[in-house]
Amino acid sequence: MGANPAENHPISFRWLTKAKEKGGKIVSVDPRYTRTSAVSDIYAPLRSGTDIAFMGGMIKYALDNNLIHKDYVVNYTNASFIVADGYDFNDGLFSGYDEAKRSYDKTKWALAVGPDGQPVKDPTLEHPRSVFQLMKKHYSRYDVDTVSSVTGTPKEDLLKVYEAFCATGKVGKSGTILYAMGTTQHTVGSQNVRAFAIIQMLLGNIGLPGGGINAMRGESNVQGSTDFGLLWDNLTGYLAIPKQSVPEHATLEGYLKKETPPSGYWSNRPKFVVSLLKSWYGQNATAENEFGYQFLPKPGAKNYSHIFLFKAMFNKELEGAFLWGTNPVVGGPNAGREKEALGNLKWLVAVDLWETETAAFWKKEAGSDPSKINTEVFFLPACSSYEKEGSVSNSGRWMQYRWRAIEPKGDSRPDLDMVHDLALRLKKMYAGDTSAAAAPFLALDWNYGDGHEPDIDLVCKEINGYDLTTGKLLPGFGALKDDGTTSSGNWIYSGFYPEEGKNRSKNRDNKDTGGGNFLNWSFAWPMNRRILYNRASADANGVPYSKEKAVIHWDAIQNKWVGTDVPDFNATIAPSAPGGTGAIMMNKDGVGLLYAPTMNEGPFPEHYEPFESPVPNAFSSVELNPAVVIHEGDFNKKGFKADYPIIATTYRVSEHWQSGTMTRNQEWLSELSAFMYVEISEELAKEKGIKNKDKIKVSTARGEITAYAMVTKRYKPFKVRGKVVHQVGMPWHFGFKGYATGDTANRLTPHIGDANTQIPEYKAFLCDIRRAD
């Protein structure tokens, strides 16, 4: 659901077909009948942007028919927790909404706390203010008829999917949900994923083989680059960036107090933060100067993510930018505006293997007038992944090392060398500078050798971390301390390089160590654990729920957890000991959050229509997610159904990758998939007088593109709330550079993001189509 692995992650799909050979069932839920759908046992179409309605119906079905794994729900979720009086829900709004600010006072959603400071619970799940009962009430509105009229999914298809998937709630069975950007790139993207998490917790599908919710990562190291803190609000290892807007963050002590929960694994946060500061600021990080905490930048009271970044650039607030292998002129939302924004920069550094549309944004072929663009552009040729060495982390967190097969082509260089080179030059320029601005940069520890090429082994070891009193590498994050005697550049990776000469990402022993976990192939963070929360595969007493799906169990003789995987739990905490049943150990109370009072738009996922939708919301009078930020004006024009009655979405094909830079510059792949096209149903084609392979125009409030029409049976009109609604889809890989060129789909997409993550809503917007001639 929200993924098409047969085409976008083909080799992963090989394992699904193997599961099918063994009797497993594949369910495909997608607006379009994809190649994944073609191999599936059950296919259900849904209108783009209605995932919560679809899943809300499934939650109701599981509860109504008592298909949940009750013992698991009682022990490993917050179903039994009592919600305090502040929480309420009425006509699409939770309590505490401030319309002017478009935000909620989340304190209204607090859980009830007893005199001992612990959550109040009712293990019978019958208390009317228990999470379980409130959830039941919330989703009682998601009956199959209403859901079907919203999603456009035929009722019998809905029931088929619900029945098949909820059957995995039985002990001994498991079901997984594979998702990708089809799920996340919506104004309710985070809550779409939450809805998956809720059903998986209800069915007891987290922490066991064949379970989980699996994000299919689109880039070879988007997992790693997120782990390593390349998003504005996270330092490495998901440590929150200190912010100016949070008063407690003014000091390290205040920051740690504010960000560290009293229980759960994050209670160790001070050890991770101080060790990171020691890795970054070395000798300049001392107990006296808060371990260099004040050197870190503190963002102001605004958002700095992609849409906001380009808005700032569009408004001439930025002066310079570095692009590390990224191509927003094709890949960014409302890409026409993003291209214009680049012209407001004074300087731009583009690092890539190819001349991207973004590096060439100032050219005539980009539709620009070069004489009017004063941006200085520096293009640095990077070498490819096998012309250098280093590791990448896949969707399953497996950190695999890649060796250098050949020297970099021509004068190209690894990105690692460029960053290092730049750092050394800047260090030299700032040397001796006694200004307050120079101080934090001069304090930054940068010791990877003096040459143009850094010693990558030193980088690897710094990430793992050292015992600074002995100079030895650390065995893992369990050894980290908050007193400045340990370092680790990224605590979640600590343990991948436990001793000299043993970089475990280089491990290549492919013997199956049991359960298909291959523990001696590569390294999986954290601590080589392959199935997260695997403590939940066993019951409260530490006995596996079933033999078939056993992962770890409590061995009373050895007094520890043992099994086919590394326990994702403290291996020596007995089930009967305090915290011994807290399987979801990263959360404060050790349980999964069916009710999540941390989310910006409410503790339960609720259906809202996309930013641009052809129908009113059937579940409430609130049309759009009430907590999203709306960008007004020329930066993001909104289209309405009167002008743009057709739903559009974007997707990828097997032969191209992301913005197409890496594949449209190759001959064979360009030949295999050479043209930009728009896929439309036979019914819509007939209505519009369009034939297969006609050139058509697709327009939205943001722009217009020309493409070939691909008339297919893969799209069928949806029947939504009694009306016929059409949807079209198109690949977003094309641009004006490379061998295979075509118009850029993202010139059509809007600049609006999810209320929690600001991920753009690429997957559901309104358009119109017509013949080009």
Partner: protein, 190 residues
């Protein structure tokens, strides 16, 4: 250098067979003849290095065959338990990431208002970029705001990194934050 698990004999058998199949498709060779001659194929004495595919996040293993300073062949890594030697269309053609004539191999500079690229050397490029970075940073750097130490610049952005190695993303993250950059974003959202 990494040790491959395959012994040399198994390996030759495997890659020879794959190469023969490819040759039949590409050049119309007689399959039997081609197979018999497989030891003379250009990959028979090539150096083999394991890598991981640079495209999606599945993490398939690939073997890169190099000889005479070029990439002569690539194939799925049969040892890698993720893909067991299988590859998709993109993984299969990964050789062209190296061999494509579209690769840019020299640093290029575009002056303000200019309509063309100029080739420049690395020294000039890196030095000029460092100067621009310092100028912009120094001009815009905020040490304190409302009495709180903030040490940031809001005039420089860093984007991308999802195709870089972990070690590279670590250094980009460290350098950019070390400089006070707060507009920091990669492709997780796009």
């Amino acid at each position: 250098m990494v040790e491959l698990n395959l012994n040399r004999r198994q390996f030759l058998k495997l890659s020879g067979a794959t190469a023969a199949t490819l040759a039949v498709v590409e050049l119309g060779f007689n399959e039997k003849k081609a197979y018999a001659k497989s030891k003379e194929f250009k990959i028979a004495s090539s150096k083999v290095t394991p890598t991981v595919c640079c495209f999606c996040g599945v993490g398939c293993g690939i073997l890169v065959h190099t000889k005479d300073n070029t990439v002569v062949y690539t194939e799925g890594d049969p040892d890698n338990p993720i893909n067991e030697g299988k590859l998709c269309s993109k993984g299969t053609t990964i050789r062209q990431v190296y061999t494509s004539e579209k690769r840019i191999t020299k640093p290029l500079y575009r002056a303000p208002g200019s309509d063309k690229w100029e080739e420049k050397d690395w020294e000039w490029m890196m030095d000029t970029i460092a100067k621009r970075t310092k100028e912009t940073r120094d001009k815009s750097f905020v040490v304190t705001d409302n009495g709180i130490t903030v040490n940031r610049t809001e005039k420089i952005a860093s984007l991308g990194g999802a195709a870089l190695d972990n070690e590279e993303t670590y250094l980009v993250s460290k350098l950019m934050r070390g400089l006070g950059v707060v507009y920091l974003e990669h492709q997780a959202r796009i």
